[in-house]
Amino acid sequence: MSDVLLTVSGVSKHFGGVVAVDDVSFELKAGEIVGIIGPNGSGKTTLVNIITGFVRPDKGRVVFKKEDITGKPPYHITDVGIARTFQMIRPFYQLPAYKNLIPSLFSPRVRRLLGGKYGDRDAVAMDILEEVGFERDSSVPYKSARNLPHGYLKRLELGRCIALRPEVIILDELFSGMSIAEVTSTVPIIEKLRDEGIAIIMIEHRLRELFQITDHVLVFNFGRKIAEGTPEEVMNSNEVKEAYLGSEEIEEEETAC
């Protein structure tokens, strides 16, 4: 029904002898959340790096809104509208939290979208931080990123994405390192972004929370997409059970998080 925003077709990448991503294809539509799950080292982050231009694929194509963006530099890919968070967070540690959003707000993309009148960037940054759960009237937004707890830094990554006014957001294990309360309060933020028409890719190990907000999941193992479908379909497929070494383990992981 809605338009396809992002098409990944036949993408492969190997590092030396390791095949990190092996012939992966999928589509992403506006206003959709696609979950990606898979054991450690199954190539999820590498796939994100391929889409966002940090890694050039050996084979395959990435197409965003009819433009072939395969192998384009990261700043170009963000510029056309794909924002990401880093699994290994990359805040500007020496800056206050709200200043961490300035590069995003200063970017050509945002300046173009706002048609020159971008007003007070600091104020916009504060608004976005409030959106991702920084208490506005406290000292938290002014604290330097160095002194913030990990959960805040993860949400700061999300804030940096939102600031870019993207059409696609890729969240690489956003929930890991967050407390249960933080995850619970972050879920509605993501749902709101989806309702605004943003397409979202969520890589997650925390299946319970992921399955709450998505009905389309890709499962990775050894770089291959081994299953795709609704959470129930995927969890009942034999390949997935094998990949996770038995269905009990999925239950365990689900409850453990």
Partner: protein, 335 residues
């Protein structure tokens, strides 16, 4: 009982990130005083110097220009070991314009500044993607290469250089011109540093992937700071050519590359005031030490070592800390 040093921010500075709440003239003065030092120092005190020290001052200011230019590149993560590239290129452009076509300084200076900035940027553009020491190596080699090139092809006067370049109309013009240029470069760069643009430049230095994933083309920004740093350095060279009435291979000499780095190390990297202060210590010091003859370089070297070992943060950061914080010894109970 044990004693420990306690540091307290001076109460005057009600700080919420660069926004100051000012309540009295005293507080205004507290903030304005450090910024007035370079302005008053240059414009009011230096003119009182003797002719000899005025000359020293001019050469100090030229080095200081190269030092703030160095600091701008450093801010963006580009380490330059070849500030003499900028100086030499600027000197040759202004020198050639004047010697061959009689272009007066009032035109040759701005032309050399702009064209020199563009030329240096183009020379370094192919290696802009190199980081750290690799970029530094190229900047070190380029001026050597250019001087050999001039020597071999005998263009631009070859090893003789270009002589008989017009001087400035008066010593006072020369004197104030370099002061104003230095103040403009210094306060201009500081302003840039404090802006969102500067925040992005510094971000490129310590987190380039995050900057890239903000949709910012880091190479375009590096090109911009390269141009600005190159233009300031080229101005220094063009000025030097008119002041010395000579442009030649010595313009690519190592002195112009080393001193800015030494100034930054002594004065303190990471702020524009540090290298400026460093240049104003090192160049006059080297003049004073002239009396020692052959031992001069030994004492100069010793001073450098002691300064860097004694105050690794740099003199400026040390002074700033003393200015902004009260230190006192307090007694603490042990256990």
């Amino acid at each position: 009982m044990e004693r420990r040093k306690e540091r307290i921010d001076r109460g005057v500075k009600v700080r919420s990130d660069g926004i100051y709440a000012l309540n009295s003239y005293r507080e205004v003065f507290y903030l304005a005083f450090p910024r007035l030092i370079p302005i008053l120092g240059l414009l009011v005190i230096c003119p009182l110097f003797s002719e000899y020290w005025k000359e020293v001052f001019v050469s100090t200011a030229v080095y200081a220009l190269l030092a703030v230019s160095w600091e701008l590149l450093y801010m963006g993560g580009l380490i330059s070991l070849g500030q003499s590239l900028f100086y030499g290129v600027g000197a040759y452009i202004a020198g050639a314009l004047n010697a061959y076509w009689g272009v007066p300084p009032i035109l040759s200076l701005p032309i050399a500044t702009l064209v020199g900035g563009v030329f240096c940027t183009l020379m370094l553009l192919p290696v802009l993607r190199l980081r750290g020491i690799y970029f530094a190596m190229v900047t070190l080699v380029l001026p050597l290469l250019l001087s050999r090139f001039v020597e071999a092809t005998r263009i631009l006067g070859g090893t003789e250089g270009l002589t008989g370049i017009d001087s400035f109309s008066s010593q006072w013009v020369a004197f104030y011109l370099v002061q104003v240029a230095l103040l403009v470069a210094f306060f201009g760069f500081r302003r840039l540093e404090g802006s969102d643009y500067g925040l992005v430049i510094k971000g490129i230095n310590d987190n380039d992937r995050a900057i890239m994933s903000s949709g910012i083309n880091i190479y375009w920004y590096k090109t911009q700071i390269l141009f600005m740093a190159g233009a300031v350095g080229a101005f220094a060279g063009a000025y030097g050519a008119h002041y010395d009435m000579f442009a030649g291979i010595p313009g690519f000499a190592l002195d112009y590359s080393i001193l800015p780095i030494a100034a930054a190390a002594v004065g303190g990297m990471g702020s524009f005031a540090g290298p400026l202060l460093g240049a104003f210590i090192l160049v006059p010091l080297s003049e004073i030490l002239r009396a020692l003859g052959a031992l001069r370089i030994v004492f100069y070297g010793l001073f450098l070592v002691f300064a860097v070992v004694g105050l690794p943060e740099g003199l400026f950061h040390f002074i700033r800390r003393k200015y902004e914080q009260i230190e006192r010894w307090v007694e603490v109970d042990k256990g």
